[in-house]
Structures are given as structure tokens and as C-alpha cells.
């Protein structure tokens, strides 16, 4: 199973508010 990462920060913030879930923000510099 893979993590369903979001790329759009604002959309994810709205989603968190709607779903009452915390957010995990992963900052990386690793090559994709």
C-alpha cells in the first residue's frame, strides 16, 4: 500500500477541515 500524497496544500487543508482529520506534511529534497 502506498501513501495517498496530496500535492495541493490548500486543497489538503480544506479536506482536513471537512473531514476533521490532522494533516501530515512531508518536506523532502529527495529525487522523485
Amino acid at each position: 500500500m502506498a501513501v495517498s500524497w496530496n500535492k495541493d496544500i490548500d486543497a489538503a487543508l480544506n479536506q482536513a477541515k471537512t473531514q476533521h482529520k490532522p494533516l501530515l506534511v512531508d518536506f523532502s529534497a529527495a529525487p522523485a
Binding site: M1, A2, V3, S4, W5, N6, K7, I9, A12, L13, Q15, A16, K17, Q19, H20, K21, P22, L23, L24, V25, D26, F27, S28, A29, A30, A32
Partner: protein
């Protein structure tokens, strides 16, 4: 771990080169960094630097527990700190979980006696932890 993340978080991935504005938006200064934000976008936990899988999992639980704690969901917070102690007793998150589990219990019940056992537990299990020192004033 992916299942735990998908189940408990809205996960966001920000690559410093692809989205430098997103990187600086949260005052990030290093990679890897992981933040746990509450549902309103307020930062509740920060993990800077690489951690092995078990340590990272324990830190994620610390973050979720902190979110519950700050929402005054004392029973939920206490249960999450207990989960850290059950699942990752040898992690660096464990002594912090001992401390905050007791505080969560006290906050939820107003029973301060729970704090009195904490210094002994921390001295026995995690004597080198800073949390053992922080609990010293609670010694009964």
C-alpha cells in the same frame, strides 16, 4: 505505515525544488521534515531529520496524541500515548509518552495522584531521558 498514514492523516508531500513556496510557508529549514497539523492547519508536532521506521511511527503517534491533547480529548490522548508504550516501548518517544499519558489522565480526571508514580517509572525504564528529569517535581 502507509495504511496508518492514510487512515489517520490527510497526507501532503512538498518537494523543496518543486514547491519552494510551500516549503517556506511552514518555516521549514531542513529536509527531511515532517509536520503534523491539526484540522485547522495549526502545527502540533515537528519531526526534523531522518528517523528509522519504528521511531518515525512512534513520532507520528506522538503527533496525533498531541492533536487530541490540544483538543482536550483527554481519553483519546491517553489511549494514543498508551499505544506508543505498547507498540514502541524502546523508542525515544516512549518516555515522553509516559509523561504526557499521565498528564492526559490528570487533565481528564483531576486525579493528581497519577502523576506521583511517573518519576519512579521514568527512573526505572528511561533514566537517561530528559522526561525523567522533568517529572522529578512530581515525586511523592
Amino acid at each position: 505505515m502507509a495504511g496508518f498514514i492514510n487512515e489517520n492523516f490527510i497526507p501532503i508531500s512538498v518537494h523543496i525544488k518543486e514547491n519552494p513556496a510551500g516549503f517556506h510557508r511552514f518555516d521549514s529549514v531542513w529536509t527531511p521534515t515532517a509536520l503534523i497539523l491539526d484540522e485547522n492547519g495549526k502545527e502540533r508536532h515537528r519531526i526534523e531529520g531522518y528517523l528509522p521506521k519504528d521511531e518515525f511511527s512512534a513520532q507520528l503517534l506522538l503527533g496525533v496524541a498531541r492533536v487530541a491533547f490540544m483538543q482536550k480529548k483527554w481519553k483519546d490522548a491517553e489511549a494514543l500515548y498508551s499505544q506508543i508504550l505498547n507498540d514502541y516501548p524502546k523508542s525515544t518517544a516512549a518516555p515522553e509518552a509516559v509523561y504526557w499519558k499521565a498528564v492526559s489522565h490528570y487533565k481528564g480526571t483531576n486525579d493528581h495522584t497519577v502523576l506521583g508514580d511517573v518519576p519512579k517509572i521514568l527512573q526505572q525504564k528511561y533514566p537517561d531521558s530528559v522526561w525523567a528529569k522533568k517529572a522529578i517535581p512530581w515525586a511523592s
